[in-house]
């Protein structure tokens, strides 16, 4: 029998795909195609058997077996004779149906061993006129049409045999030769997953291929509507079948979008590939599953989606030809749509029914498979769906049916509605709204009442403490009464709003309480808030007065109040506030930067505080720290919760520089409950200092990852209770709560849990319909929400509304995405408007963070989108004074068109004068420094050749001649500048040196990558080299010509002046600290120039950096005047602007491309403020034309070979010490599927944080691009690594394999993986092929393999053949 195909025949491309899938999961019946035919006739079993055997004998594919030769699978005709099993007679069974089901289970769901057989078939007698014929064939050898051909061939042969004649042997068209024709012609694309996809209903990725088949009967009574739809000109395609296919594909894609949330969907659809009549009558596999990709916009209507599907179908059909699947990447297919038409017909003239059976499993890579089947050619298809078991753990079959039907009906009956607004639940499902437990709060009492009650109970207990200073409840009561009385007497208008703009202090809390007692609402404004914003908030809120501290608070046009020091009992009683009165207005910045004031009434505040006081902490009278910004409502918990139950508020003042008082809180450990952001928690965990007293942490403000929790527990204390509190400001601080459970919380993010008492939560789609469990929707809050946005009726109406579904009354739409889980809790999925996506699929950044946090040295992780910032490249508005454009990040303008920088500068310009000295003082200082010098020179001077440093040189020369002038020759100094320098030093009779480093180009490249300019790198280089020169020459000072504008831009920043008027020594100290840090930074320049000699900062004590313009202040006209009269200085003409450097344009070009604005905009604005430029000049110079060819040329010269525009892709910012790129990439590779890997990794010492304690995304550095994942070659070292390396290199023909190399880069595709597994098994290593996708490097794979139980002798004897009893019986019979 086998002589026809002695060496077997090659497989078609479609067969190869099935073969690979089979080999990766050989023990599951994922490709079993099973049919049940109910034949209603008086069948003659012997004739039937003969007919079947004749047909099998006449076909090659019906007896195909598959074996590997030389690593390639080939199909052979089995040498085992085919014999039909004896029919099973159930006609006398009582429970014949159950018995039959039992047999079917085994026949249909037993996996095939393809080396032995690919077909099994059975006949069952239910009665004389009712027979059941079952065929189960592996998909590698058949498709639906093939099964129909087989059915008809047997029917025809049966009829022929019945007629009595001795007919010719059956001759069916051979398949093997056809398969050879259907091989791939062009290049083969591997079935690699290149994009992530989200499993439906929030299910985890399927681990095993088990699935169930659900009927979808909903459309059975919609046949007329379907027919009308398919005939409508808008929706009609050129054949009726295709019109139907487009309809079902559209419904399916819309449904998939709703239940996965993905915007790029790829489904697999079969192309039947039987073009000729002969093809249609040939047995075997012709069908190929090919991808159909569609981008779904959240705003699409169903009709618009249908139009996209039409276009995609066009491409699909154009591509469809036998073998085409080879060139298609089918790895991205997440779901399959089977549109199957096959006509079976009667059996031997008698009616027969056809049922396509499900084997209980399907390809694990596809979560869902929708089947549209028509086996009787009546044009009315049936729908069913195979759903993987993991999906059914998240939702029920009933829900799935309901949701799909809802989408299909919406498409058929009302296609122009937006698909985001199709209600998936046909009625208001009460289970889709969560309610908190009954409220225990006394809702009649305001916070003022509650604190008063507590004061009566414990008047002498400490309420407020700062360091050693304490205030008792009674004292606090008296002090706040005094504050209230002050308000009453001073407030200027009838507005009942009072602002508090003070640093953290006991006074701050006294002011707040006083305001509440006065029946007013407080507006908290943190002390370090930029002045312009303070003005805006005060104006917007209509505040009648503002509490400030002594000192230099600017005039806001309203009375400034100071918290009274003494508690004067005035005897004046104020009417207490009502529940409906406003308690506070808190301004958040939102995403647009325009502050909006959330107004909360006393009722909301009181209910929140009462809940928080009871829910957080185990101690009866908990102490809380006051350490966070008062502008952030997270702080309100810590201020009020302790005061209603007798605890105390411990005040931690702001620390200088970034406000890191949180570190003090944990270092001192004198409180019970700390409410903080996850970023602050990461910071504190890094210190790894154990805490004893702090027992409860409440986290809010950012997503909380389980990795961060575990880290905290091990770093701080294993006894900590960690609570995740979710809630926007608009829902009064927080409204959902979840207690972190180390065991149960297994995902990457901690759930946000359940609603607080009195709060209701639901998930809504784009049309505010309720979303069922598992479907992503917008989190919507009811029950306890703010009054609205103060003074902004329009915005209030947009986001706060009455529930159209009438489930939650007045609700607030958060703009956050979430999902309701089966256990009734809510999963938070990020901001709707800030989703991070890869290939249209939302990325769970917590998963990436979790992977990176497997490295113990990591303290914080932030994942961001690397695409270009959303700045308009062209500015629309310029400051009326200095010309600053509005496309700088964070740029705001006053109503008169003044920029914030100018406005702020006006407030501290006077105080900043403390930094500057007089000319006589210059002379004195130089003499002092000269005395310290030990060498030939007293001073090293930085001479750039520009006007400022040249003028400075002349002034210096008037005071001393012992000067060494230095210029950094970065390779791009203009000739004009060099001429100027030469002439100046000659004129002054000074020695001069050009300083240079051979690392300059690398410094430029690094500066471009990190800062998107060249100046920063250059700047640091010159300071480094100059310091070394000064030290070597024994000079005691470096003199610079840095302009005043540059001082204000980089050193004398507004925050130095916020809280007071520092004197010169203090400013010097702050500047000095900053300088030390600057030179101690462990950055790329430090590495390139090897600055270990400067890191301890001592050089800055030996060498003073003296900026001459600190002592000299002359107008620019004087500078030009002097230079033209007394020197030969000429403004260089070859640089195009007021610099001396030819590489400047490169920096400007790259900066504009990568950051969206001109990097000279800010420096020029300072020139204007200093009077060194006019506004017109500044505007003129910014509006420049860059010669991009020259830029490209210079970029090539310095070795910058990346694209100028930033590359898209995710960036992982990782903070920690002692980390290397290789560590992080290795951690990512081991824990994440390849398509979810970020593109870039940036290592930081510290994660930058905003004053509120959240990640400061505006100050994250630009990414240093990684080109490939592989780092260095690490040779295999262990025995297992060597063994596996040998096997792998033989299969992929690689010379050498490093332990860190990613298999994908080595060319290990699924075919190779299978061959590698087979070879490994032969070598005694029980490696499954799938292991090569989970452990993608030699190192990781070897580690995995080492832990496996080795294949023993017994395993070698494990049966290679999958024989059931019937097979054994046959063989035995044949052998007799």
């Amino acid at each position: 029998m086998d002589e026809r195909t002695p060496n077997g025949c090659p497989l078609s491309e479609s067969q190869l795909r099935f073969w690979r899938g089979h080999m990766l999961a050989p023990d599951a019946p994922i490709y079993n195609m099973a049919w049940r035919f109910d034949l209603h006739l008086a069948l003659e079993p012997k004739v039937f058997t003969q007919a079947l055997e004749d047909v099998v004998a006449g076909s090659d594919i019906l007896r195909a077996v598959f074996r590997i030769t030389d690593g390639i699978p080939r199909q052979h005709i089995s040498t085992l004779p085919f014999q039909m099993n004896a029919p099973v007679d159930l006609s006398n069974e009582i429970a014949s149906k159950d018995a039959l089901d039992g047999y079917l289970m085994g026949w249909v769901s037993n996996p095939f061993d393809l080396s032995v057989s690919s077909l099994r078939t059975h006949l069952v007698k239910l009665s004389d006129t009712h027979w059941v014929w079952v065929i189960c064939q592996h998909h590698i050898a058949c498709d639906a049409q093939s099964s129909a051909v087989l059915f008809q061939a047997v029917s025809k042969r049966y009829e022929a045999l019945l007629e009595g004649a001795s007919p010719e042997p059956v001759q069916l068209a051979p398949y093997f030769a056809k398969a050879t024709e259907m091989q791939a012609e062009g290049p083969v694309t591997d079935i690699a997953k290149t994009r992530p996809s989200t499993p439906p209903y929030g299910a985890p990725a399927p681990a095993a291929p088990w699935s169930s088949r659900l009927a979808l009967p909903g459309q059975a009574d919609q046949q007329d509507a379907i027919a009308r739809f398919c005939a409508a000109p808008e929706f009609r395609l050129f054949t009726p079948d295709l019109s139907q296919l487009a309809l079902f594909a559209t419904a399916y894609l819309a449904y998939l979008h709703r239940v996965t949330g993905d915007e790029r969907l790829t489904i697999g659809m079969p192309s039947h590939n039987r073009l000729s009549v002969q093809d249609r009558d040939t047995l075997g596999l012709f069908m190929e599953v090919m991808p159909l990709s569609v981008d779904v916009d959240a705003t699409d209507s169903l009709a618009e989606l249908h139009s996209k599907v039409k276009t995609a179908l066009g491409a699909f059909l154009r591509n469809a030809r036998p073998g085409a699947v080879a060139g298609q990447n089918t790895g991205d297919i997440g779901a399959v749509l089977n549109f199957i038409k096959a006509r079976f017909g009667p059996f031997a003239g008698a009616p027969a029914t056809v049922e396509w059976l499900h084997s209980g499993a399907h390809d694990g890579a596809h979560a869902l498979r929708l089947h549209v089947t028509d086996f009787d050619d009546k044009g009315t298809p049936s729908l069913s769906m195979d759903v993987s078991a993991t999906v059914l753990s998240q939702t029920t079959g009933h829900e799935i049916q309901q949701h799909f039907d809802a989408v299909l009906c919406a498409l058929i009956n009302d296609p122009h509605q937006p698909l985001a607004a199709v209600s998936l639940t046909s009625r208001v499902d009460r289970t889709a709204t969560l309610s908190g437990p009954p409220e225990a709060a006394d809702t009649t009492k305001t916070i003022v009442d509650l604190i008063a009650a507590q004061t009566l109970r414990t008047p002498d207990a400490i309420a407020l403490q700062e360091g050693a200073q304490c205030l008792s409840y009674a004292q606090l009561d008296a002090r706040s009464d005094a504050a209230a009385a002050l308000i009453h007497s001073q407030a200027s208008n009838d507005s009942k709003v009072i602002a508090v703009h003070m640093p953290r202090s006991p006074g701050c809390l006294i002011a707040i309480l006083g305001i509440l007692k006065a029946g007013c609402a407080f507006v908290p404004i943190a002390a370090n808030t930029p002045m312009l914003r303070v003005q805006k908030i005060i104006a917007d809120s209509g505040a009648a007065a503002v509490f400030t501290t002594q000192g230099h608070a600017p005039d806001f046009g309203i009375p400034r109040l100071n918290v009274p020091q003494s508690s004067v009992r005035s005897g004046f009683h104020l009417a207490p506030p009502q529940n409906s009165d406003l308690a506070y207005i808190l301004y958040t910045s939102g995403s647009t930067g325009v502050p909006k004031g959330v107004a909360v009434d006393h009722s909301g505040l009181s209910r929140y505080v009462q809940w928080a006081a009871g829910a957080f902490g185990v101690v009866e009278k908990p102490d809380y720290p006051f350490f966070s910004s008062i502008s952030f409502d997270l702080t309100l918990t810590s201020l009020f919760a302790p005061l209603v139950c007798g605890g105390r508020v411990v005040v931690y003042p702001e620390t200088t520089g970034p406000d890191l008082a949180v570190l003090d809180v944990f270092a001192q450990d004198v409180v019970d409950v700390v409410k903080l952001t996850p970023s602050h928690l990461a910071l504190v965990s890094k210190s790894a200092r154990r805490v004893d007293r702090i027992k409860t942490l409440v986290l809010g403000g950012e997503n909380l990852t389980t990795a961060a929790c575990r880290n905290a527990l091990s770093a701080l204390s294993p006894d900590l209770e960690i609570i995740n509190e979710y809630g926007p400001t608009e829902a009064v601080v927080g409204c959902m709560i979840h207690h972190f459970d180390q065991v149960a919380d297994s995902g990457a993010s901690v759930p946000v849990g359940l609603p607080a008492p009195g709060v209701t939560i639901s998930l809504r789609d784009g049309g505010l319909n309720l979303c069922p469990a598992g479907v992503v929707g917008e989190i919507v809050i009811g029950g306890r929400v703010a009054c609205g946005y103060f003074g902004d009726v329009e915005r209030t109406q947009t986001l706060f509304s009455t529930d159209p579904q009438d489930a939650q009354k007045r609700l607030y739409r958060t703009g956050d995405l979430g999902r309701l889980r089966m256990d009734g809790t809510v999963e938070y999925l990020g901001r709707g408007d800030h989703q991070l996506k890869v290939g249209g699929v939302r990325v769970e950044t917590a998963d990436i963070e979790q992977a990176i946090r497997t490295l113990p040295a990591v303290s914080a992780v932030h994942i961001a989108d690397g695409s270009a910032p959303a700045n308009h490249p062209h500015p629309n508005q310029f400051c009326t004074r200095c010309g600053l454009p509005d496309n700088l990040p964070g740029a705001t303008f006053t109503s008169t068109g003044l920029c914030e920088v100018c406005a702020d500068f006006d407030t501290y310009q006077d105080r900043a004068q403390a930094y500057f000295h007089t000319e006589p003082e210059l002379e004195v200082r130089l003499q002092e420094l000269a005395a310290k010098s030990t060498g030939k020179y007293d001073a090293v001077m930085l001479l750039s050749g520009g006007k400022d440093s040249t003028y400075a040189a002349y002034r210096l020369a008037a005071l001393t001649s012992r000067v060494l002038a230095v210029t950094l020759d970065n390779g791009y100094i203009s000739d004009g500048a060099k001429t100027n320098i030469r002439d100046v030093v000659a004129h002054l009779s000074w020695d001069h040196r050009f300083l240079s480093t051979d690392k300059m180009n690398e410094i430029f490249v690094d500066s471009l990558n990190t800062h998107a300019n060249v100046c920063q790198g250059c700047f640091k280089a010159i300071y480094t080299l100059a310091l070394r020169t000064a030290r070597a020459e024994g000079a005691a000072t470096i003199v610079t010509g840095l302009s005043r504008g540059q001082f204000f831009e980089t050193r004398l920043t507004p925050d130095l002046f916020r809280t007071g008027a520092p004197n010169c020594a203090q400013l010097d100290q702050m500047v000095g600290e900053a300088r030390k840090t600057y030179h101690a930074e462990d950055d790329e320049i430090a590495r390139l120039l090897q600055t270990s000699d400067l890191q301890d900062g001592r050089v800055l004590e030996e060498v003073e950096i003296l900026d001459i313009y600190r002592y000299i202040d002359v107008p620019v006209s004087e500078i030009y005047n002097f230079l033209s009269k007394h020197s030969s200085w000429v403004r260089p003409s070859d640089t195009g602007r007021s610099t001396n450097c030819l590489i400047n344009d490169v920096g400007i070009h790259v900066h504009k491309a990568r950051k969206g604005f001109h990097n000279y905009a800010l420096p020029y604005s300072w020139d204007v403020r200093m009077g060194h430029k006019t506004r017109t000049q500044a505007l003129d110079e910014i509006d420049d034309e860059i010669d991009t060819n020259k830029v490209r040329q210079i970029l090539d010269e310095i070795g910058f070979d990346e694209p100028i525009t930033p590359q898209s892709g995710l960036i992982a910012y990782v903070a920690g010490h002692g980390l290397s790129d290789a560590n992080v990439w290795d951690a990512l590779q081991r824990n994440l599927p390849r398509e979810m890997m970020p593109k870039h990794v940036v290592l930081l010492d510290e994660m930058p944080l905003t004053p509120n304690g959240k990640v400061d995304t505006a100050h994250l550095p630009a990414a240093n691009t990684r080109v490939s994942f592989t780092t260095e070659f690490v040779a295999p070292s262990t025995e297992m690594e060597h063994k596996l390396a040998t096997i792998i290199s033989a299969v992929v023909h690689a010379d050498r394999i490093g332990t860190l190399d990613d298999f994908f880069d080595l060319g290990v595709d699924s075919l190779a993986a299978i061959n590698i597994a087979i070879s490994a098994n032969e070598a005694g290593i029980a490696l499954p092929a799938t292991a090569l996708f989970e452990h993608r490097s030699l190192g990781a794979l070897a580690q995995f393999a080492q832990a496996l139980a080795p294949l023993t002798e017994d395993d070698d004897d494990a049966p290679l053949l999958d024989l059931d009893d019937d097979d054994l019986a046959n063989i035995t019979q044949a052998l007799r």
């Binding site: 050129f238 054949t239 073009l275 000729s276 009549v277 491409a315 154009r318 469809a320």
Partner: protein, 78 residues
């Protein structure tokens, strides 16, 4: 349009003859794959480009309709 008719009758329908005005699409004589293979044949044989938007019932439902479409495309330099 002889080559067209031969292709349909011989390559796609296994020798079956059809009338020029016979509706081949609504009756399911040609399915979508067959039509696309026909489109490829037409593009090659008659040297015109057939964009997918033109693959509609009106242009392909019968042999004479196809002929009309081909002639129009040829005249407009398609």
């Amino acid at each position: 349009m002889a080559p067209l008719k031969h292709y349909i009758q011989d390559s796609l329908l296994g020798g079956k003859t059809v009338e020029d005005s016979e509706n081949l699409l609504l009756t399911g004589v040609l399915d979508s794959l067959a039509v696309m293979s026909l489109v490829a044949f037409i593009e090659q044989t008659y040297d015109i480009a057939v964009p997918f938007e033109d693959v509609i019932i009106e242009n392909f439902m019968a042999i004479d309709a196809m002929g009309h479409y081909i002639r129009t495309r040829q005249q407009s330099g398609g």
